[in-house]
């Protein structure tokens, strides 16, 4: 508990100070990517840690959030401080719907059906031209005035801070959830459903709660993504994002609170380093996933003791 708290505070503290030393647009962009990925990883990891499955359809929430922000800002002119929260809300609703159906299912079924949902959403985005502009996607998602009026570096740094706020919020929510009575309930459900039920915990309710929280955080990330990239297309529901999330969470350490920080840093830096290798890069990622599953299943931060509550008589 102490280690995790200190680690997260230090990590986010350093992240907040980073823009003061960075003068390069490219590095700022990497920073934004990392913060975006931290939010994604944190939300993905919440489900992995508490429900115990990998929700391959998690991009559904990313996409709903992204499209929500894109549509609201381009069609209704909504400002960024409204679009991102609403994106989160809509993703939460989507989470309620999808979770309501899939959380009653056993392992592989849960995994596959969430994937089906993401695919359906991708097809809808691709075909419902009236709403989503079909395969062309929605471009020209506006950048807020106070950002657009700055030079490029300043713009990136402004987005960096917005991303920082969202990432910090996500990590805070996860931390509070884990170290709480609710978190204990979630652990009980994950460890032994029968015991959980016999002490008054309804497994489905906790699974759904976790799922919706994760969906909301992912939705915020989606809204942020829309404004930062200025373009949202059906590929936001696609598998490549899922692959990223899987690798980040696996490598960082699934089910830990610090994994979602370490994983994205390593993976984003790795991706940039391997950028020169083009297509070989993705093959290497496939090998990394297999290697982690086979040789380092607990991930890089797996050595960190999971949440522990000790008792010392006063």
């Amino acid at each position: 508990m102490q280690f995790e708290r200190r680690f997260l505070l230090i990590a986010m503290g350093l992240a907040a100070l980073l823009p003061f030393v960075v003068r390069d647009e490219y590095l700022a962009h990497i920073g934004v990517l990392i913060l975006f990925s931290v939010t994604l990883a944190a939300s993905f990891n919440l489900i992995v840690g508490y429900i115990g499955e990998f929700p391959l359809g998690h991009t559904a929430f990313l996409g709903v959030g992204a499209y929500a922000a894109a549509i609201l800002s381009t069609r209704a002119g909504a400002p960024i401080y409204l679009t991102i929260p609403i994106a989160g809300l809509l993703s939460a609703a989507t989470g309620l719907l999808i979770g309501g159906i899939t959380l009653r299912l056993r392992g592989p079924f849960f995994v596959i059906v969430t994937l089906c949902f993401a695919e359906v959403l991708r097809l809808v985005a691709n075909n419902w031209v009236g709403l989503t502009n079909g395969p062309m996607g929605i471009s020209g998602v506006p950048t807020p005035h106070w950002i657009a009026s700055q030079p490029i570096l300043g713009q990136k740094i402004s987005f960096y801070y917005i991303g920082w706020v969202i990432a910090a919020l996500s990590l805070y929510v996860c931390y509070r959830f884990v170290y709480s009575n609710l978190g204990r309930g979630g652990v009980a459900v994950r460890e032994n459903r029968f015991v959980a039920q016999s002490i008054g915990i309804k497994p489905y309710r906790y699974a759904l709660l976790t799922f919706v929280i994760a969906a909301t955080l992912c939705g915020f990330a989606g809204g942020f993504y829309a404004h930062y990239i200025s373009y949202v297309g059906p590929e936001v529901f696609g598998f490549p994002f899922t692959v990223s999330m899987i690798i980040m969470v696996l490598l960082g350490g699934k089910g830990t609170l610090v994994g979602p920080v370490v994983g994205p840093v390593v993976v984003v830096l790795l991706e940039e380093y391997l950028r020169d290798f083009q297509d070989l890069r993705l093959s290497i990622f496939g090998l990394i996933v297999m290697a982690v599953v086979l040789f380092l299943p607990a991930g890089l931060m797996g050595f960190v003791a999971r949440r522990r509550e000790t008792y010392a008589p006063a």
Binding site: G185, A188, N192, Q197, I199
Partner: protein
């Protein structure tokens, strides 16, 4: 307190439980005994909602709770243990019992994200109460030990502690003495006897260990082949010819 009327349970044509009725009154310790396969655990499942009865009813404090979901039964005050894996293996003794107190702690999402003094108080209280329950069953020495490292006897005590942690009014234990030697069983018996009237209002046991049954029970219900054979005080049950026959078989002619 608990009343079971005419419980039936069919599994694909086989009647696991047939027309079973009995009751547990406040302040009592009732034991459910019978040979293996008599349907005792099935009765537990029917009462606590882990399996719905094919017919019959279950009443708790006069309320019809037949077929209520297990967590609802727990919230009403009926907590049970299981024959196997009744603990959270990867947690310590303390964490197990602390988790058991879950329903008495904060369950609001908002207050989880923005905990104020009330939540901190509640958590502190929960931790103290959990420690007290651990002490009650005699596991204080193993407070921060992982459940996976406990001995068999200690595991059984932990199971009781978890169920107790949930603050039940009626505590239902499924074979709490399984795998215990005589000494450990005696110890358990002492613990159990001390619970009634102090921590819980009544106790319902399924047990094979006759020594324990005779020592702690006020009444004994005997089952065989899914039916209730008889019930009564422990001494009269011990001498009942039908009961003896159920366990040992007929005398050779």
């Amino acid at each position: 307190m608990l009343e079971v009327r005419g419980l039936h349970k069919n599994y694909a044509g086989i009647a696991a439980v047939q027309d079973v009725s009995f009751e547990v009154r406040s302040g009592e310790v009732v034991s459910l005994i019978g040979p293996n396969g008599a349907g005792k655990t099935t009765c537990f499942n029917l009462i606590t909602g882990f399996a719905p009865p094919s017919s019959g009813s279950v009443l708790f404090e006069g309320r019809d709770v037949t077929g209520c979901e297990p967590h609802v039964m727990a919230l009403l005050g009926v907590v049970r243990t299981f024959q196997k894996t009744s603990v959270l293996k990867n947690l310590t003794v303390f964490e197990n019992v602390l988790t058991a107190r879950h329903r008495l702690g904060n369950r609001s999402l908002w207050r989880t994200l923005l905990p104020g003094r009330a939540v901190r108080e509640s958590e502190r209280r929960l931790r103290e109460e959990a420690a007290r329950v651990v002490a009650l069953v005699g596991l204080s020495a193993r407070m921060n030990t992982g459940a996976a490292s406990l001995s068999c006897g200690e595991l059984r005590l932990l199971e009781v502690a978890i169920a107790l942690g949930a603050g039940p009014r009626l505590l239902m234990l499924d074979e709490p003495a399984a795998g215990l030697n005589t000494e450990e069983a005696l110890l358990l018996g002492d613990v159990l006897r001390g619970l009634v009237g102090t921590s819980v209002e009544a106790l319902l046991l399924v047990e094979h260990n006759m020594g324990l049954v005779m020592a702690v029970s006020d009444r004994v219900v005997v089952m065989n082949f899914g039916r209730k054979l008889t019930e009564g005080r422990p001494e009269s049950i011990r001498q009942n010819a039908e009961v003896v026959e159920a366990y040992l078989g007929k005398r050779a002619a």
